[in-house]
Symmetry: C2
Subunit: 338 residues, 2 copies
DNA sequence: ATAGGATGTCGAAGCGCTTCGACAGCTTTC
DNA sequence: GAAAGCTGTCGAAGCGCTTCGACATCCTAT
């Protein structure tokens, strides 16, 4: 293993000079810099991470805590994780992957050991037990998702309230007056992961403003659960012509069931989904949808975090504006309804 | 930040004694151990990761390199990643998440800097450019997936050849004589990711042994591509009654298309999938399938790696035996065929 | 009674790096 | 032409831990 000292000797300078070449924290003459860089290349030198962390008390590592649970739509998590890793690298950071399994202990461990300089938490619950720890430490952190109380925290998330509003608006504009919302599994609501509630909030308030009737039903996803849910909805509100779906595993079943019942999309009923673009594009009908901007969320989170690590940037809540892409699953409400 | 020295002082012992309590590398009297442990708890001490890494030249970190590309089925990757992280923790290791983006450079960087003690590589190509580097270093590594030449490497993967054989066997046993294989996207074959070829190999050789006719067609996935592929297959081999699908995004489209054409599953045609159990269970017909044992692969990989780090265990190829779960998508071939 | 072996603890030497203060050799300034 | 300021480089201290050899102590076997 090549060390700094060996590079210094090879280049005929002192160790500190090599260090300054590497960090750029003091000016070095061009000629010396080049000699040092040459030696580094020739010897294939890589600074030792441990020594560096010890001496500088910076590990250049960002911890990313992903949920262990897999009832959330997994590809989104993965996409965020990859965006985080990629963006972190462009800022000189590596990413440590923590699962939610350890819970708050992981926060303590990572903070206490100086393993990471900062943390990103995914899948934050409204009243997450890790939050007090984060507030109590001076280690920067960013949440992906929104807890109930955001004071003293930096959060990044899609603006789900605006998302809900946008979906209703789109359907209302097309003349739909009876809209059903197919939501996440009941467990998601019970767990108080805020996004589902915020979406509903946006849906409801905008629906009221626009004078649209709204019926919300959580759904486990899968064919059987969807069949039951749909039957109940149509029983209760036979005039339903618009659907908003916020549950990836209910999308395809819903389309199949509608087809099976002879209800054409978008001629008879319209469907708007809140889901990753990939799902919207690969469905049997190309779905009008609001995308979950996974990459953007990951990127934003890292950038906020790096800003904090550099002493720039304060606590703030970044809500990404939703964008509705109109595709083939929505159209004017059939005449004669409501 | 609490240090070892402070713990030592608090407990009235020397620093080295505390260190030995922590590592267990020398025997410590019960009374001393307890005093030290008490102090550790009271002070909330966490050993500094950097200092530890520097002094012991072990970082207790395993690097996991995941593919950047997302044309593979993402949930499987995620499940493996989580299994790796979870298993690693039970052995006292943390996991560093690297994306394939940096390619071989990441291997050099991590190896050179001592950031990680070992590596796990996912999505290995047959002739992966990272392999020479791995062979040339003394840092332990495990591949998830099988390259062309495995000498000097440790690999973990599903036995895809046996998987292919198993699928054919099952269909043949049920009396199917004309089987179509719907494979991954052409790009996957072109990239020479071995698993697709190995499955095909198993399918073909067993089909020949059993006197079954086999037709293989790659497929991009999605409805449109599947429609084209299916039409071609039925045109070329109208008597096809069995399907083997190795492409998650083709499964549901295939079922929908068959239904649409009035071919009942499993009465008229049988379908076997090679996919994660979750996909098989959530499909519109519960699919007979061979599961991709993501968790098991992640776990095995870490365990092999830890064995190597402990000086136990040598290079070897671990092929996980496939298991076929019979569900509702396969049945006896309709009489009068072939 | 005493040599020899366990057993438990300590001191000190690094691990490879960053960073601070010092300083030699320049250039600028009046 | 001397004071003052820059620039570029160096030496040394120290980050918090592991680990090796040394050394008491106590036990066991002669």
């Amino acid at each position: 293993m090549v060390t700094l000292a060996e590079v210094a000797q090879h280049a005929g300078v002192s160790a500190s000079t090599v260090s300054y070449v590497l960090s750029g924290k003091r000016s070095i003459s061009t000629i010396t810099r080049q000699r040092v860089e040459q030696s580094i290349r020739e010897l294939g030198y890589h600074p030792n991470a441990g020594a560096r962390a010890l001496a500088s008390s910076r590990s250049n590592i960002i911890a990313l805590m992903v949920p262990l649970r897999t009832d959330m739509y997994v590809p989104v998590m993965m996409e965020i994780a990859i965006a985080v890793a990629t963006t972190a690298r462009t800022h000189g950071y590596d990413v440590l992957l923590l699962t939610g399994e350890e819970g708050p202990d992981a926060v303590r461990r990572v903070t206490g050991s100086g393993l990471a300089d900062a943390m990103i938490l995914m899948d934050v619950e409204l009243d997450d037990e890790r939050l007090p720890l984060l507030r109590g430490t001076d280690q920067p952190s960013v949440l992906i998702g929104l807890p109930a109380d955001t004071t003293g925290l930096t959060c990044v998330d899609l603006d789900f309230k605006a998302t809900g509003a946008l979906c209703v608006e789109h359907l209302a504009m097309l003349g739909h007056r009876d809209i059903a919302v197919i939501g996440e599994a009941p467990a998601v609501y019970e767990r108080h992961t805020g996004f589902a509630e915020r979406t509903l909030d946006g849906l409801r308030s905008r629906a009221q403003e626009l004078g649209v009737r709204l019926l919300h039903r959580p759904c486990e996803g899968g064919y059987d659960a969807m069949a039951v849910t749909l039957a109940r909805i149509l029983d209760e509100r036979p005039g339903t012509t618009g659907f908003v779906v916020q549950n990836e595993s209910a999308v395809e079943p819903l389309l199949a069931l509608l087809r099976q019942q002879g209800r054409a999309v978008p001629e008879d009923v319209s469907v708007v989904a809140v889901c990753p673009d990939q799902v919207a594009m690969q469905a049997s009908v190309r779905l009008t949808s609001v995308a979950i901007p996974a990459q953007e969320m990951g990127r934003h989170a890292v950038e906020r975090l790096v800003a904090k690590l550099d002493g720039r940037g304060a606590d703030e809540v970044v809500l990404i504006a939703p964008e509705l892409a109109v595709r083939a699953s929505t159209g004017p409400a059939p005449s004669g309804t409501s």
